[in-house]
Amino acid sequence: MIFYLKKAAGLLVTLILVSVITFGVFQILPGNPVYIILGVDADPAQAAALEKALGLDRPMAERYLDWIAGLFRGDLGMSYRYQQPVSELLSSALEVTGSLAVVTLVLTVLIGVPVGIWLAGHSHKKYSVIVSMLSQVSLSVPGFCMAVFLSSVFAVSLRWLPSMGFVSWSDSPVEWLRSLLLPSLSLALGSSSVLIRYVKVSVTNQQKQDYVRTAYSKGLKKTRVMYGHVVRNSLIPVITILGMTAADILGGSIIIENVFSMPGIGRLISVSITSRDLPLLQGLTLYLAVIVVVCNFVVDLIYSVVDPRIRLK
């Protein structure tokens, strides 16, 4: 219990620091947001009026507290470009990116874990080299190439799956999945290749451990030893990789989201940067930082469930 309280306290402190840094960075950035909104040759009187209206003339600490108070109300300010609340933009983009992350993680595990285990058991066989090579190829081909390739085969030529857009789960779960399969697969092929290597090494190492010999000496069959003992003990690196992949995709895959025209976080990031939409960018930055911190926190929690020894440290 104390372990979890400590972890939660750590999470809270990190989040406060993240908010301070995010806020601070946008304060010290050169360029006055007033002139970004009005244009560089704006009338100084008009600029001063807008500065007052936006509250930019008040002390920094006060504005920080205001901003934090806004956060708790779910108010991250208004986007300059869309003239919509940043929180609304974020949450609708998060639905897309979150869906993408879920499907990608599922595909990554479905490909990476079984292939990794299989490779660990067959590493001395010649045909395993072919599988290793294939995973090497999917690792080295850039995501957007994979995306274009998959799209041209499965969407353009075979017409099995849509090539662009996103359908909400609440509209149609089947279409939701269909709209996500190609972008998720483009992401998952890369991340599962990494996972395959980690699973293979981890399982190979665990198989050499003494407790495996004990398991055999109890009369367990090979598959039972593998799935009852070895695989579970090999999970730690798997969780690490999955946590990193999750944070990565939730942070917006700018290229993949653009190739498949998905209105997700990645798209929002590229728009906010090109249009100098500061409130949106600030909201996104905070979101990205929070995602990384929260993913690490969740990974820590899962570690402690899988390996009871970690709770001791």
């Binding site: 055999y216 003990n233 009871p308 001791l312």
Partner: protein, 358 residues
Amino acid sequence: MSDIVCSLQDFSLQFREDGTWYPAVSDLNLEIHAGEMVALIGESGCGKSVTALSLMGLWPEEARVSGSLVMQGENLLAMDSRRWAEYRGSQVSMIFQEPMTALNPLIKVGKQIRENVLVHQHVTRREAKQQVLGMMKQAGLPDVEALYHCYPHQLSGGQRQRIMIAMAMINHPSLLIADEPTTALDVTIQAQIMELMRQMNRELGSAVLLISHDLGVVKNLCSRAYIMYAGHVVESGPVAELLQNPMHPYTRGLVAAIPGPHCRDQELASIPGTVPALNARLQIGCGFCNRCAWKTDICEKETPQLKTVGNRMVRCHRVSEQEHGKRSADKGEGLEGEGQNSAANVSDAEIERRCVHV
């Protein structure tokens, strides 16, 4: 004698290195009777652990085995993997040197023992748990309900080895193999674990093959011992006789190396040199001759055979001579070094003193 549980005849195990097969165990003959406690003694690399693993069918994949391994009338080398799985953990069990690594760190110890019940008996999980709790009590563990739900890292070394013993004994095997079960434990705990094994042997009637490098440790437990050196049994017989009157020079060295009150202010006796590496062993001649003080020409030219001397077996060219003129010639012919000289003929009381730590 009572009926034989386990017998190894001309058992050999070889490893391949650079295209040549090197014997790690050669022509081993060993018998264990029902309910008997037998010791297999030797230093690291003498082949005692691979012999034990072979009885479990767990010899290394790259090894080649030959000869005969018979367990309760069944030829082990003819068994398929399904039969091996039935056999392991029910007819023969094994406990290992290091209980920390031998237990799965991520599974509660109770469940690890229960797994052994569920694999071999058709019982419900609840019944299996009751059996486990009973066996944990019998293995001398306190507060078994709480310990059942502990992970290995939460237990002490002695408790972990008790868990291993409970796990090994839960299906009442005919033979328990204990591979240096106390080497990783404190001396005080060692005696407790040895006592527990004797108790299990008496209460459940399982025969025990105790593997150790220390002849002193097994003195009070085992009736007979086999001394192994470089893959060969060099001497075998009743433990008391081996300790009192070791015939093979290697056994003499082992006996002399047992520490005790007599060693105060003396350097501990040791046998000079080490066991030769697998690929450096002589194919012809006595395996011990490069460390032996009694070496003569014949030792290098001819491989000694096991000879029966009374109720013992010994593999040494010079044993009969030595037997012949033992009392008189011993002073001149004995091994060099004080400890070893004094080891050649020692009184019962002296043996008792040396083994007090057991």
